[in-house]
């Protein structure tokens, strides 16, 4: 396990005051905010910054880190001595343990036992009851899965105390059935699959946030399904019934005569299924056949000659 220099991560000196640490953290939290940052690996960088701040902004953890990390260089092999935390009293404030589950092995080794933590003090366990923390993860699905439901394997890592009291990161794999009708951003709850509770209390839940892989044809917005529908000029001009292939079978859609490119048509209830199913939204795109044969050219020339049509006059007063 490599030693992490949290001061270097936040870009502050070892003598930095609490205010300086807070200021440096906020600057980096803005720079790497996963929702808006354009920096490469913003999410991973934010995780590093959060981890460093979690330790340096907490006086108890900072003292322990300073004492234990004295003489270590970043990246150097690190192993804390047994029972190193016997002289410290951690109150377990700061982030919820569920939020620190993604932190590094180094953090888990040093402070992981705070994960069950509230209640551990200098290694002495006190009797109390507390519900286990909820864990959050993302599950990546195809849009087709929303129509049929899907089973996915999810791997999760979480700090755990072993029989000797050492903290290790445990990986567990779950087979999860995601029901039909889910949409992007929706949270799927697996009761009792979060962190175990303390003192006989119930376990936390596992919250899976649904995300869809990009699809070459479809885009989903909540339960509405968007699709660009290419049609021929004669279908647009004369009207037609065209077949649209969907994840679970095809539907026939009537194109009214005189339909222009860019028009949006709504087919109610044909989006992602659910108690209130979504709609199918078709963005019409009129596609011209290429004029690459004598016959095709002749047809276009006949239209040009015989149809008194000037598209630039449309919409003029």
């Amino acid at each position: 396990m490599e030693f992490k220099d949290y001061y270097q991560t936040l870009g502050v000196s070892r003598e930095a005051t609490a205010d300086e640490i807070k200021k440096a953290y906020r600057k980096l939290a803005r720079k790497y905010h996963p929702d808006v940052s354009r920096e490469a690996n913003a999410e991973a960088q934010m995780k590093e910054v959060n981890e460093a701040n979690e330790v340096l902004s907490d006086p108890e953890k900072r003292v322990a880190y300073d004492q234990l990390g004295r003489g270590y260089r970043p990246g150097q092999e690190f192993r804390p001595p047994p029972n190193w935390d016997a002289g410290f009293e951690f109150s377990g404030r700061g982030r919820a343990p569920g939020e620190t589950a993604d932190f590094s092995d180094f953090f888990a080794e040093m402070f992981g036992r705070m994960g069950g933590a509230r209640g551990f003090s200098g290694g002495q366990r006190t009797q109390f009851q507390a519900r286990g923390e909820d864990h959050h993860a993302k599950v990546l699905l195809d849009i087709e899965d929303a129509f049929s439901g899907a089973t996915r394997q999810i791997s999760l890592r979480a700090p755990k105390n072993d029989a000797r009291g050492q903290v290790t990161l445990e990986t567990r794999t779950l087979n999860v059935r995601v029901p039909q009708g889910v949409y992007a951003g929706q949270i799927i709850r697996l009761a009792g699959q979060g962190a175990p509770g303390s003192g006989g209390a119930q376990a936390g839940d596992l919250m899976l946030e649904v995300q869809f892989r990009p699809h070459p044809r479809f885009r989903a917005q909540a339960r509405d399904l968007h699709l660009t529908l290419p049609i021929a000029p004669w279908e647009a001009a004369l009207g037609a019934v065209v077949q649209v292939d969907l994840p679970q079978g095809a539907v026939n859609v009537r194109i009214p005569e005189g339909t222009q490119s860019g028009r949006q048509m709504r087919v109610r209830g044909k989006g992602i299924p659910g108690a209130t199913p979504g709609d199918l939204l078709l963005d019409i795109q009129v596609v011209l056949p290429p004029a690459d044969t004598a016959k095709a050219k002749e047809l276009y020339e006949t239209m040009a000659r015989e149809l008194a049509f000037d598209p630039r006059s449309l919409g003029r007063a």
Binding site: A29, D35, R177, G181, Q186, I187, I188, L190, D205
Partner: protein, 102 residues
């Protein structure tokens, strides 16, 4: 649990849970959540006889707001305003993604 066991999840919208469970899902304290619901900063929360139903969007919103308040000492109304903007950004990004998947 056996390795081949399949767990079935329920969408949050179909789950009725206690305020404490809801707060745990949002990684916030129950008092924080109750205060923000009372102040109208987290819409789409429904309560019947002490149990709650929350939309998935509201859970993400609560998590975002609590992080903004913690990281930047933002007042709740400012955190709610930023959450509004981020939700709009999510929607616009989803639309742009459909036009240009790259």
């Amino acid at each position: 649990m056996r390795d081949d066991e399949i767990l079935t999840g329920s969408p949050m919208e179909d789950s009725w849970v206690t305020l404490e469970q809801l707060a745990a899902a949002c990684s916030v304290e129950p008092a924080w959540l109750q205060r923000h619901i009372d102040d109208g900063l987290i819409p789409q929360a429904e309560s019947v006889a002490g149990v709650w139903c929350f939309s998935s969007i509201s859970i993400v919103r609560a998590r975002r707001m609590s992080q903004l308040e913690r990281d930047f000492d933002a007042v709740p109304e400012l955190a709610a305003l930023v959450a509004d903007l981020l939700e709009e950004l999510d929607e616009l990004r989803a639309r742009v993604g459909s036009v240009d998947p790259g």
